[in-house]
Amino acid sequence: MAARVQAEPFDIAAELAGFGAGAGAVVTFSGLVRDEGGRLLALEIEHYPGMTEKALQAYGEEAARRFDLADWRILHRHGRLAVGEPIMMVATAARHRGAAFAAAEYLMDWLKSRAPFWKREIGPDGAGAWVEARDEDEKSLARWQG
């Protein structure tokens, strides 16, 4: 039942130690920096200190209520991330798999479109373009509403 924001890399495996014991079903999602066919050298992630932590905690608590989770975890990095490094992860634990899967997707949809992070792509020449939000992510979030 915890959200964390940090610059340091993390080890998905280590984060999962002991997670969800007794729950039956555990789902994890992790996002890694893709190399985009050599176009990308790194990602730079800006965030809103203070708001970020509060938003992640609120989304986690909402997911726990909505899907009756036994446990949840959200971890998101900021700063410069090299290709192949983990960007973030969510983990959900529930009695049955349906709830664990749904809660992980729900959290991802909120994270993608409502958590105050902004990604910039750093190419081999050092120049960086801000990543644009995808319509698809907004649609994905809309399915949980109403």
């Binding site: 708001m51 479109s113 910039r120």
Partner: protein, 83 residues
């Protein structure tokens, strides 16, 4: 009232600074936007396309019509791209 205004991502780059403290009597976010856009060309550029701007009042996402009474911190930024 004194208000901290924060800028993130390309809005920060256009404005040229991550945060500033201003004095304002704006009653809503929309009124604040108008005041800020009138300050100089950089603020105007940052706020030129409001469809591409998101707002948080005291670290909660808010609409343009949100009231500012009692607010201490307003942040402007592009649509989020986390995850």
């Amino acid at each position: 009232m004194p208000l901290d205004v924060l800028w993130f991502a390309w809005l920060r780059e256009r404005v040229g600074q991550p945060r500033e403290r201003i004095e304002t009597e704006a009653a809503t976010v929309r009124e604040l936007v108008a005041e800020l856009a009138a300050m100089d060309q950089w603020h105007a550029a940052a706020l030129a396309d409001l469809a591409a701007v998101r707002v948080a009042v005291d670290q909660e996402l808010a609409e343009l019509d949100a009231p500012l009474a009692g607010a201490r911190e307003v942040a402007f930024f592009p649509p989020m791209t986390g995850g």
